[in-house]
Structure formats: C-alpha cells, structure tokens
Symmetry: D2
Subunit: 216 residues, 4 copies
C-alpha cells in the first residue's frame, strides 16, 4: 500500500527491537519530514557509530577510540578498579546498570546473551570460550593482572539467566579441579530477595524463600 521505498524502510525499522510495523511507519514519516540537514546528521551518526566503536578485547564493553592501538575500555584500564574481581553480565545495559549504582569496583565480562538450552549450537552464541580464556589467562589481556579471586555471576534471575549462570558455574567448577590459579576462585551470585517496594503478599514463593533464608 505504501510506495516501495517507504515499505522497504518500514520493514527494516520493524527489525529494530520493540518496533512493530505501525511504529516503523511512524519512523519513516518522521524521517520524510525531517529537515535535510538533520537527516544527513542521523545517517552520519549511524555510520560513525560503526566506525568509531570498538569492543574491549577483555570485557567486550563498547568504547570509542581514534587510535587503533587502544584495545581495552576505560573500565579495564582504570588503575583504581579491583582486577581480581570479575562480574559476568548478559549485556552492555546490565554493565551500565551496575556502574550507575557506583558500588562495584571490579571488572566485567559481557556474555552477549543467554543460553536457554545447553546444546552446543546454543552455547556458541554467547562468549563462553572467550570467558574461559580470560579466566585462565588473564595476563594475556590485562597487564599485571593478579588473577581472579571472585567471580560474580550477575545474569538476570530469569529462566534463561538462571540456566546460563548454572552452566557457567558448572564449567568453572570443572575448570577449577586441579587447576592451580583457578582453583581458589570464589563464585558468587547476586542476592535474591524482595525488591524495593515489593510486598510479601504478592511475592512469588521462590523470592520469599530467598528473602527468608537470606535474612540478616
């Protein structure tokens, strides 16, 4: 019903996360009416972001660099961060949420997703090999790395996040068996319990059990 060039762009916008065809159509008409200069700026920003953004070679966080020599993000190179502490998260946005509370002072590792099954093909979609490599050989990535003392599995407490944490936990335990530097790593999970504003009456049984057992 729309002209082909509009239809095509609607289809492309419809692939954006959370966007359906109706919203995609509104995006297209927004762009059609945008002053030409603004549209060019948008196109430039889209191209720029792909050119300027690098992924940290340790944690896969995004960072911007003009120099091709810089390989690590500002967290991984920050001399104040505790390099014996590693927090494994699903996505960039989780890293950002944790940074926002300004309580965590260690390093991160971004998995890039979750596994819902433990099939090989599914596991390949997240950065498991990369994770193991960084835990076993931290010095290959971080100069003067002291190795890790604690690894926090900070996946979301959703079904997929829990399955992923369980998978990583098992893998790390198998790694630890008889492996000097890795053996003593403490593995922890974020606390489960009642969130701010939560109510006992509406809490699910698992959350309430965690809240009771973790009381202090």
């Amino acid at each position: 019903m729309y002209p082909p060039s509009i239809q095509k762009l609607i289809e492309q916008f419809s692939k954006f996360p959370t966007v359906g065809p109706r919203t995609a159509a509104r995006f297209v008409f927004y762009l059609i009416k945008l002053p030409k200069g603004e549209l060019e700026k948008l196109v430039k920003s889209i191209s720029d972001v792909r050119e300027k953004i690098n992924f940290c070679s340790f944690c896969f966080n995004t960072f911007e660099s003009t120099s091709s020599e810089k390989r690590l993000c500002s967290i991984c190179t920050n001399p104040i961060r505790n390099k014996s502490l590693l927090c494994i998260v699903e996505r960039e946005t989780d890293l950002l949420s944790l940074e926002r509370i300004k309580k965590y002072k260690g390093l991160y590792f971004i998995l890039g997703g979750t596994v819902s099954t433990l099939k090989e093909n599914d596991v390949k979609k997240i950065r498991m090999e990369e994770l193991v490599d960084r835990i076993k050989n931290p010095l290959n990535f971080i100069k003067n790395s002291p190795g890790f003392e604690e690894i926090i599995l900070a996946t979301n407490p959703t079904i997929e996040g829990e399955a992923t944490a369980l998978y990583i936990e098992r893998l790390l335990k198998s790694l630890k068996a008889g492996n000097g530097p890795v053996e003593s790593i403490k593995i922890t999970r974020l606390a489960r319990g009642l969130p701010t504003g939560g109510e006992l009456e509406y809490a699910d049984e698992e959350t309430l059990s965690s809240a009771l057992e973790g009381r202090k």
Copy 2:
C-alpha cells in the same frame, strides 16, 4: 556514560516518535551488532526514501516516482475515483486507514496535523491555504475536475481534531457565501457513535448521545 558517538545516536533516536532514551540505546546496540551489509542497506534506504518520495501536488500523499514530471499520486490520477468527493484527514496514516476499508472512492487532502488554538501561527502549521486553493481552483490541480460536491471533515474526534474540523467548517462556510462553484458544497462529518465492542455502560455521555441521536 556511553562513548560520545553512541550517546549522540541515542539522542537522535530519542527524537523519533514514541522512542525514549532506553529504547534508543537498544536501537544503537542493535545497529552496532548488525552485519555491515545490513547496516549499509539501512543507511541506503534512509537516503533513498528522501530522494524517491514525492508529495502529491494535490493531496500531499506520498508517492514514489523516478520521473520528475509526475506530480499526482495514484489516488488522484485514478480515473475510477470520484473527483467530486473530498475527504480531509490529519495524516497519511488516516488516509491509509480509510483506504484499508475499501469503501471510500473519492479524493483526499492531508492537512499535516491539527490546530489546537486558532492563532495565526498555529494555523500556519497545517495546510489551510493549500486546502482553500484546491477547493476554489480544483482545475489548477486535477485535469477535468468537476469541482467538489461534498467535503468530508475526517479529522479525529479528539479535542484537537474537533477544533480543527470546526475551524475548517467555518472557513468553508465563509468561502461559500456568494461564491458560485463553492456555494453548493455539502460539508459532512464522520458519524459519531458506539465503536465495535463498545459498551453503553462505559461510553462517555457525548458518544452515547451521538449514538442515540444518530439511531436508524
């Protein structure tokens, strides 16, 4: 907190209709991970849509044309459409909604918005002058135009849409006074009443009054 090139694109996406900063960030990370070929296709589509899309010189509907000579959209040039019937809508999406029901066989005019006040500056934002010009001089735009017999004010029954319809109605009435070809134009409004699935108990008083008065 994000690298500057990401931050900048987030700000640009945040101006898209319905998009907030959190969704904008998800868009950016979606683009960062998109295969390079796909990203280039997206950028091309955005540029294309601006180059290929023309606005119909009568109704302001969008249409695609390679030839610079084509000035009218496929509705305005369709020989089967009733050219004595004009439906005034707020936006392209309203035109599309009406086309979808396949019941309307006349022409359209897209206002490009609504007026919330009747101040001159506000009225200038919508295509009032253009509308008056097309009603008074249809032959300047549509070859063999018979002039209009009925004008349907199909703005939304929202506060702004109603105000806009009222404004246009008054203007058309002042136009009609002593003006031969315009004098006999019938001005109509879309019927107000209960929508499909609506319930009397939850209908507002205005809707229920319209439903009662318009019974048949």
Copy 3:
C-alpha cells in the same frame, strides 16, 4: 489455611462479580475489623435491599416501594415520558447510562442479558416472552398506552449484543407480518461510529466503515 468460617465467606465473596479469592479475603478481614454497629448496618442493608426492591412489571427496572400495590417504576409512570417509544437494553446499568445523558424520553425494557446462541435454552435466559407480550399488549401493562411507534434495539455493539439485537429484530419482523397494531413499528439501532477521543488510525474496520457510511 484460613479458619472454616473465614474460608466459607471468602468462597461466597469470590462469587461476586469481578472478585477473586485474594480480594474476597481482603473483604473478610475488612468485615472482621469493622465496628460491630457498622457490620450490623451492612447486614441490615443487604436484607433491606431484597425486601424493599421490586421489579417494574413493565420494564423490569428496580424500584423501591412500601406499598404492594405499586407495580410500575417511576419511569413507566412518569406522565411526561413518551410511551410510544421503547428502548430495549441488556441491563439496569445500561438504562442508567442512558438516563444519565438526559436525552431519551421514552420507556425501557430490560432484557436481563444477552443470547450468544439462538438455542431455546439460551433464549429462555433473557426476557423474550415478556418483551413480546409487552409489545403486543401494552395496554395490559401501561394504562392508556398508545402502542409503540419506535423500538430502539440498544444492546451493546459486542458480539453477544449484536446477536441478541439480530434475534429480536427477526422476531419483531415476524410479529409485524399481518399484525395490525405492531405492523407499523419502526425498529432502530443506536448509531455506530467513532467514539469521543477515538482515532481513525486505531479504529477497527467495521467502526470506520460505519463512521464513513453514517456521515452527515
């Protein structure tokens, strides 16, 4: 888990419209804590409502009467109401919604529900026989009734409401065939169209078609 007398009352409140077991439990604890005088007043009101409330012998509207002689509600006995106009509604709440807009001046008939199928058992649940009786023999119910000139089918434009209206319409048409006083009754429906605040873009096709066809 609750004591039996609480559990029993929860079950009874759970049968109230819109009430689930959790809300029912809150009702019970509300009652347990209510000052004794207030609880007694509530119990008295519940008993009162059953004793004092009568159903109008013409329209089935509820009304309160101390005298057992009064058979008709205040609408049916109001000398100003137009007794040749009948509006058929599903429930009391629909009658009240229509009264609230102060535009309707005829009589009502409360069906007591809708039919979803046209099976005999289903039809028996609503007051079809009573309706037919009142239309054919209005003088048996309303003194000096002039008979009906117009019957408004004001069921909700939901699937059930539409099916019920269709059923009544057919029945009335079969009644009219060769039946003197009934023959000339006009049968109407509430207007369908866009409700206040509705938008063309989000209107379903049926509503939009009605709005277009019913334009005026």
Copy 4:
C-alpha cells in the same frame, strides 16, 4: 438515581477495599438477583465470621473456636514450632504468604499495619505496646516459652514498611540495653535483592545495590 435502599448498600460496599461505586453497584444487582436461600447463607456467614473468629492472644492471628477457653491460635500452640524465633509482619495476609512457602518454623506477631510517621497517634494504631509486652514477658502468653533468640522484622520493603521496621528496631535496641533476657536477641531483616524474573536493567538502584552487597 438508584432507589434509596440500593444507593445505601452501594455506599456501604464502596467502603470495601478496592471497591468503587461502579463495582459496588454490580455487587448490589448481584445480590438482588441471588436466590433467596443463597442470600440468607451470605448474611449468616457474615454474622458467623464475627461471632466465631477470635484473635490469638499472643500473635493476633485469627482462629476459630467454639470454646471460650482457647486463647492461642494453632501456630502458637503447635509443639513443633520453634518458640525462640519471632517474625513480625504487617498483616494476616503476610503471615499466610510466609506459611505458604513452608520454610518458616517460628512464631509470628501481627502488627496490624504500619506507621508512616513516628508520632504517638500514628504509633498507637499498630500493636507496639502489645509487641513489647510479648517480647519482655513471653511466659505470660506462651507456656514454657524459652524467650526469643531472634526477631525477624518482616515488614514490606515499602516506605511505610521500612519506617515501621526502623521504628521497631530502635525500640528493641533501647529495650535490650541492660535488660537480661532481651539483651541477647538477634534482630534480622528479610533479604533484599532481585526477585524471580527480575532484570538488572529495570531494577532500581537500591535493589541492585542490595543484590550486589548481599551476593554469596
């Protein structure tokens, strides 16, 4: 608009928790149509619940008893429950939520609400005096009570619940000062953290901080 006896009952139902006038009206029409026997059963259940239900003289939980001698609920008299553990909750429904997970084996105390300010009048609305009495003199209520070793403040993590917990905590600390049997009582709180299905990205900062600090 409704007859007075209906209007009155609507007003009474409108005071029920979560009930507005529209729902209250639906309740009344539900009752009007209820078979007479069912209505009488409902009225009887309402009266019964007030006559049969007692409040436990230790924890204020509701229980049903025909004998006027029974003063304690089935939790407080259960020989298997750990009588040195006390869990303070806001309401009966919180006690029930905790019982449902079958993990808690101590006693309860129902405060009957929360304090939003620490003003005397506000504090009087909840059972603070009764709480202090039971902590100081458990043997007056529970035969062979060993006194309390741990008190769990299980108010909701809402603003009011937090304020109430803080108030109780301070009060208990002042009680402990130099008071033999009370001095050694451990005071705990339910764990705060991410609930089941929660996501880091949408967690508030306080919840995320608790989840990080409470990791294990």
